[in-house]
Each structure stands twice: as C-alpha cells, then as structure tokens.
Point group: C2
Chain length 321, copies 2
C-alpha cells in the first residue's frame, strides 16, 4: 500500500508516520509532505520506503504531483491552526479550504482512481448553544474561521465522495492533550500546560475555573483514530463521512486529580490559578462531551482516563532527565 | 438606499426588481447585474434610478467594481441551478461558491462598509434521512453538488458576518411553484407543469405518485421573503443567519384538487400519470415540510393554500389569451 501524509511535520503527522513505519498499517511506500521538512520516522522493520518532501501545499500543482503516484490512502493533516486562521483570514482559507479543494480536484482528474482521503477535522465545527452531550448529527454552527473552514472542507469532501472521486472520511478530533513541546499561546494551551509543565518541575498557569469540562484525546489515541480510519470499510459509513471522534470528557479538576495521583502534591502545587477572563470567554463556549456513537460502533477507541493520558505522555513524549 | 441585485435576469431576480421599483423597498438607486441582459422593471413611481449591467459575475474584478459603489443591500441570486451544477462540477463551484466568496472578499476590502447581503439558498442543503417536519436546526447533509455549494456558501456568509464585514442572511427557499415559462427538464419541473400546462389547455405528465408531499412557495411569496429580509433588523437573527423559509406543505393530490376548483375537470383531465422511476427516486428524498419557526417569528409569510398559489400565477404570470 502507498500512503501519503500531507502535513507530516506536525505533531500528529509525525506520530502517524512513526506508527505506520512501525507496522501500524501495511505500507510499501510512505510519502511525507509538509512546508517544513518532515522528520523521517525511525527505521521500519519491514519494507516501507519512506520519502520526505518539503513543499508548498498551497500550490495546486504540488498537490497534483503528489497524487500523480496514486497513493491508496491520503492522510490530510495540513492546516492553519485556530488562532492563526482567526488572525490571517486569507491564509486560513487558502490552506484549510483551498488546498483541500486542490487535493480533491487533483484526485478527481485522474481516471480510475478513488483513494481513501482521511481528513483531520475538528470539534470547532460546533458552536454555542450546545447541549451537554452533543449527538452525532448536531447541526454545525462554527464560531471561528477555523471551524468554518473545517466545516466547508467536510462538505466538499462529502460531495467528492458522493460523486465517486474519493472515499472521504473526516475525523472531528477532540482537543489534543497532553500536547508535547513548549507552551504555546492557543486558548486551549493551558489544558496541556497544567500537566506538562508540573511534570517537568515547572510552574503552570490555570486561567479558568477548575469545574470547566472539556473533551480530550491523547496524541496516542488521535494517532489510533487515523490508523483505524485507514482500515475501515468505507461502506460502513453509510454516507455519513464526518465522524465525531470519541474522547474523554473531563474537568480541569479531573486533570489535576490525575496529576496528583501520578506525581503528588509537589506537582499540583506548581499550578497557579490566575483567572483570565479573555481565555475563559473563549473556552466556556467549547463542547463538553459527545456521544460519538457512530465512531464507537465503527471501532474508534478513546482514552480511558486522564491517568492513562498522563502515562501515555510520559511513555511517548516526556523529555528525559 | 442603493440596492444591487446579482442574478437580476433570473425569474426571481426580475420579480424582485419589479417589486422594489414599484416601491416595495425605499430605493434611490437600483443596480441590476447578470450574465444575460437584465430586463429593466416597469417605470417606478418614485425617484429610483435603475442601471442594468450585463457582465460576468465569475470574475472577481467584476464583483469588486459592482460593490465599489457601496450598495446598502446586495441581493445575491446568481446561481447555477441544481441539474447544471450536477452535470458541470467546475461551473457549479465557480458560481455557487467562488463568486459568492469573491463578493464577500470584495466587500471586506472596503473600509467602514458593512452592507446587508441577502443570499438565495435552498432546501437542497438538507438530505435524507429527514424527519417529516424538519426543525430549524436540522443538520446539513446535502445530497447534490448544488446543495453542497449552497451549504458551503452559507457557512462562508456566516463567517464574514461574524467578523463584521457584512450583515448576511441566507434564505433557504422552498421549491418555487408555479414557475412561469416553458417546461424545463429539472426533476422538480412537473410540480409546476401539472398546473401551468393544463391552465394553458396543454397536457402535462405526472411522473410520481399523487400522495407525494413537498414544500412550496409561489414566486410572489419568495419575492416577499427577499423584501422582508431587507427590512429585517439584523440583530434579531441572533447570529443564526441561515433561515428555513416558511412554505406550503402539500401533496400532488392537493395541487390537483386546487386546479380542479379553479379550472374544473377539463383542466385536471389533461394531467396524465406516467410514472418515471428515475424522477421518483430523486423527488422521494426531498423535504416534505419545515417548522420554519424562526422565520415565521421574524415575519416571513408563506402562501396560504394552493388555491392562492394558482390565483397568484394567473394574476402575475399567466400568458394572456
């Protein structure tokens, strides 16, 4: 099987490439493309030939050349993230919508070709007012340009799927936690920061009330979603190609309690409650939980607890020493 | 007030221009643009200066020049219709999505300008499975490229509205009936044909069962929706800018009974039941009724009966003689 990952240098792209190279999917050729140089995964045990390409996915000709080799599965994770898409309207639409469209147009131009296209969407397609538990077929009311672009791309993917050009699947990802690396300024950043920083002996700020509830998946679980989607019989979707991924519904207090169990009060004592009304105003409108019935029925698996999420971070991502 | 109509040469565009010129909206300047020459409406009683432009709305520069005069209200009715959008994928996206985006980009490029943009959307944004009565916030699952393009344009309009560039309103129009003019080959064509042709003494084919139920608005009611939207206080939408328009839920048998009351069995005898499985397969998946609660609360008014729809057609559209 030939697999193409667009956005392969991002956090999830890297982990997905590693999982595939380690045998997570049968793969003879793995092509990794991104605007920054993709990191080739650790040597595979099998015969997987890995090609890394640094290229501009905003250019339709680049996408045409990437699909010319007719990959069987295309993972499309290339995106302008939420805060940047809100700050730079044109760039957000150029990547999150137009590049997705260029990809679909490039695929549709090739005769006798209908690859699986697995698209990283987001729970940002949903906006207030929201029920406590969001059902599978809740209507889309994005409250950000990022969420709008993801919702538009989902519709486009569904149309190209209906017309037989691709077998599209859109995975609406929960908030990823614990996100490895340095703190960032995303409104959601503190969800990872209040665990990651204390685990490293560093202080962390908590800008919201600890009763706030949200919807989470670990990087390990999210990687598993993409692998599961690649293995899925597309007919099982019955035309409903956008799936709310399962997750863990947890409060900030649940996160902190898990941290206490893992690292004690010395770690939780590093969390300083510093209310930030601007961040609270954004985060209070976010989803708290999903039923994710369809995805669970299709075999997508969520994290079992925040204890498991912390253990996965320590095993997979925490810097040594 | 300066008003711009895009797609002014279409059936609804012409009627809307006539209604405005006749005083339906306060209007000092009315600009009519379409790819085919717009027909200037009958002379207005007031001081409305009418300009007709034949131009290519697929060109971003054309849209930029049309909005440079800063119209207060822009009615965007330019569209590739359902059957053509399904047959010509590129052209459907070019007009139904890209031209809408070019319009919004042109408006957003002008400082201190936030016009009302009233967009002709469609109940084609909804697809099966559907409840008997579709609530206001039903999820969008278009089953056609036309419906996909309308749904994507709605999302885009909502994002540009949220960002303060326009005051957008998307009107999801029912099937228009009785559509004046010659029979066409649209799957929905028979809904008008079985009334229009017998009223003219001509035979008509009925390709579906007469118990089939659907959702209708007369051209007169649809024109009223656009006028109502222009008068609406945008804040009353509370951010929910896509509205299911009210309509008349009626079966084919209801249509035929109204025809019998108006023109007798001589007219209804001209309807020949000629089942067409291909047309039935399409039409059977269409919506039967909507609650349209939000639109009714906002003062949008539906036709009261098929008797009223027939009377409106005879008064407004039926060829003389």
């Amino acid at each position: 099987m030939h697999i193409l990952i667009l956005g392969a240098a991002g956090m999830l792209g890297r982990k997905l490439a590693q999982a595939i190279a380690a045998g997570g999917l049968p793969c003879a050729a793995l092509t990794l493309a991104d605007q920054v140089p993709p990191v080739p995964p650790a040597p595979a045990t099998g015969q997987c030939v890995i090609t890394c390409l640094t290229t501009d996915l905003a250019q339709p000709a680049v996408l045409a050349s990437l699909v010319a080799g007719r990959p069987d599965v295309i993972f499309h994770l290339a995106a302008i993230v939420s805060a940047e898409a809100e700050a730079d309207l044109d760039r957000g639409y150029a990547i999150n919508l137009d590049a997705t469209r260029s990809l679909l147009q490039a695929v549709s131009a090739l005769p006798d070709y209908c690859p699986k296209v697995i698209f990283a969407s987001s729970i940002a397609v949903f906006g207030t007012p929201l029920p406590d538990i969001i059902p599978d077929h809740h209507h889309l009311t994005p409250r950000s340009s990022y969420g709008t672009q993801k919702a538009m791309a989902e519709l486009l993917l569904a149309d190209y799927t209906r017309r037989g050009f691709v077998q599209g699947i859109a995975l609406r990802l929960p908030t990823i936690c614990i996100r490895p690396g340095a703190p960032n300024r995303a409104a959601s950043g503190f969800f990872s920061g209040i665990l990651r920083e204390p685990l490293a002996g560093q202080p962390a700020r908590l800008p919201v009330r600890d009763s706030l509830r949200h919807w989470f998946a670990s990087p390990r679980a999210a990687t598993g979603f993409f692998v599961r989607a690649a293995r899925l019989d597309h007919a099982a979707l019955q035309g409903q190609i956008a799936l709310n991924m399962p997750g863990l519904s947890a409060t900030v207090a649940d996160q902190i309690a898990a941290l206490a169990r893992f690292a004690g009060t010395k770690a939780t004592g590093l969390i300083h409650h510093a209310p930030d009304p601007a961040i609270a105003a954004i985060v209070e409108t976010w989803p708290q939980a999903f039923s994710a019935t369809q995805a669970l029925d299709l075999g997508f698996v969520a994290d079992s607890s925040f204890d498991a999420i912390i253990a996965a971070y320590v095993a997979d991502d925490m810097p040594q020493g």
